[in-house]
Amino acid sequence: MSFVKDIRRVLVDGRILIEKEWEINTIVACLLARGHVLIEGVPGVAKTYTAKSIARLLDLDFRRVQMTPDLLPSDIVGYYVFDQKTGEFRLRRGPIFTNILLADEINRASPRTQSALLEAMQERQVTIEGQTFKLEEPFMALATQNPIEMEGVFPLPEAQLDRFLAKIVTGYVSHKGFVEMLRRAHEIEAAIEELKPVIPRSALLEEMARSTGVRVDDSILDYIASIVEETRRHPAVRLGGSPRSGIAILKLAKAWAYLDGRSYAIPDDVKAVAKPALVHRIILKPEYELQGVTPERVVDDVLTKVPVPRP
């Protein structure tokens, strides 16, 4: 588990990403759990830097796609072009053939392109002209969306949101962090470019396989189920957590425990990942939404209602 410590040491202690430790942990946990992440945040809060830095440190290939309304599914997955020299069709692979794909402003793409991307994320393979290509492991999509954008966007349908293992809501840094960032502004970009891998890809794949072996006691499973069920019973909720959300909590809790250097999960892991695993899967009743209730608050409330396993 030393690679996680190394990532923290380089990015957090090295002040390359300021006040982003929780985001880094959650992204790495998602990677271990073979999931995808939706990052919600206003422009300029280091979403791209975070994704790029992690990819570099993990010796992974990184691609970024700026989603726009005129982007076609083939622009992401790839297409065949006719090669006049050879007289044959040649595959031009899209940016999805990578390890970490940053789909910037995913809600700007048309529903058709969104669903093509999400399908590829789910299946971990793409089909071009009837031919299926498996995506290389590890594969993780980091999609970002701007919470205040209202026009010219196509909000992701609930069914597609459910495919993201976690949603990270990232925001501005504190004043002190901001000053520190300004002080280092001229060197951060160069520092990211100079990052050296802390773990070879093959070793990372081994770690991913090992993290699935984290022991989860039956009482923890019961605790997860109770949390998900409680979201459905909450008075402010129109649609609560799905069974898939329970599986997402379980996967993330195991990865979280593994990141902490443990071979077993504890209720604290479940609490730590409940919010990123649930917030995008909960739909509030409009009357509560208008009063300013957020899914984050609902999850907090649920966590203070569901008793932890006893004895």
């Binding site: 006691d217 999960a265 209602k305 932890v308 004895p311």
Partner: protein, 355 residues
């Protein structure tokens, strides 16, 4: 000396009986309940029995005769009487294996010195009382140790502290004759063999409100005064200071209200829940149902830092929490975990005696 002692004991017992709170942690047999204390309180209304019990509680000369008379009157069963007599005649060596060796060593060392340090004596007394409250010492062993300690104190010219007598009285409440126990219908039965030739106490009891009832009536008024005082204080001081004050208040109120019984050789899971009970009472921090073991440890650490004491207690609790986590969630039966948890629990109890 006896009258104020009796009054003090009555008052303490009444408050203990009235202030019993339903904070029973699973895994703890709730042996010394308010019912036992109420029964003892009822017995103390009889002047003869009260005299005998207080003589016994002072664990001084005449204690053995008091036991015999209490057995004769049916207040104590013959078995319990014999047990107490054996305890009163025990020496430190007789208690080897029944009490913590470190405690016995400390007692021996203190008694061996010609001029014992009063601070050390006070510390020993606190440890003894804390161990009794936690259930690490059974009533007979506690009475035996109290007898040895009070005998030595008298020899050195010290007075026997009231807390020790209170501890003996509380221990006695769990040893009352089964026939007088409220669960066996003591309410319907007058106190067996008590007060022959004396006016029966119920007449007196019927004419005056009992102490707990009186306190219950006074509680709303006392609570109102407390609330007003706190409101005033909160206006004067900052909220943080008030929370610290409340923490101290809760800690001091919570201590010693719920004695519990322990059995040796328990697994770290049950030891953990027992230690939660001790931490709750010592630091006044309740473990909420939704709080994880790590969250509770953080709360306890914060509370200890705010109170500025019980650092050692929290250190021991931290180790017990670690063992609990591994055994409970990793499914591992750590070699020696039970022994280690038990050791830490004992250390914790000792540290409660010396915050």
């Amino acid at each position: 000396m006896r009258a104020p002692l009796a009054l003090l004991a009555l008052l303490v017992l009444a408050v203990s009986a009235a202030a019993e709170t339903p904070r029973h942690t699973p895994g703890f047999p709730n042996v010394e309940t308010s019912e036992h204390l109420a029964e003892l309180l009822r017995l103390l209304q009889d002047p003869v029995v009260a005299e005998l019990l207080l003589r016994l509680a002072s664990v001084g000369p005449g204690s053995e005769e008091a036991v015999e008379e209490l057995v004769e009157k049916g207040v104590l069963g013959p078995e319990q009487g014999a047990g107490i007599l054996r305890a009163l005649n025990s020496s430190i060596d007789d208690l080897a294996g029944r009490a913590d060796p470190a405690l016995l060593e400390e007692l021996r060392g203190l008694l061996g010195s010609e001029k014992p340090d009063p601070e050390r004596l006070r510390g020993l007394l606190s440890t003894l009382l804390a161990m009794r409250e936690s259930g690490l010492l059974d009533p007979y062993t506690f009475i035996a140790l109290a007898g040895i300690l009070s005998g030595a104190l008298r020899k050195l010219g010290f007075e026997v502290p009231a807390e020790l007598s209170h501890g003996v009285l509380s221990s006695l409440s769990g040893l009352l004759s089964p026939s007088t126990s409220p669960s066996r219908g003591a309410e319907e039965r007058p106190v067996a063999g008590v007060g022959a030739g004396f006016p029966r106490s119920p007449e007196l009891g019927a004419s005056l409100p009992s102490v707990p009832t009186l306190l219950e009536t006074l509680y709303p008024a006392l609570l109102s005064i407390l609330a007003c005082s706190l409101l005033t204080l909160s206006l004067v001081y900052r909220r943080k200071r008030i929370s610290g004050l409340l923490l101290r208040l809760r800690a001091s109120l919570g201590r010693g209200l719920e004695p519990r019984t322990l059995t040796a050789g328990d697994d770290p899971v049950s030891v953990y829940w027992r230690s939660v009970g001790l931490v709750e009472r010592a630091l006044g921090v309740r473990k909420l149902d939704h709080a994880t073991h790590r969250e509770y440890l953080s709360s306890a650490t914060r509370a200890s830092a705010e109170l500025g004491k019980y650092r050692r207690t929290v250190e021991c609790f931290s180790e017990i929490t670690r063992l609990y986590e591994v055994v409970r969630f990793a499914g591992e039966s750590l070699e020696g975990a039970a022994v280690r948890a038990g050791e830490k629990f004992r250390e914790m109890v000792e540290s409660l005696g010396r915050p």
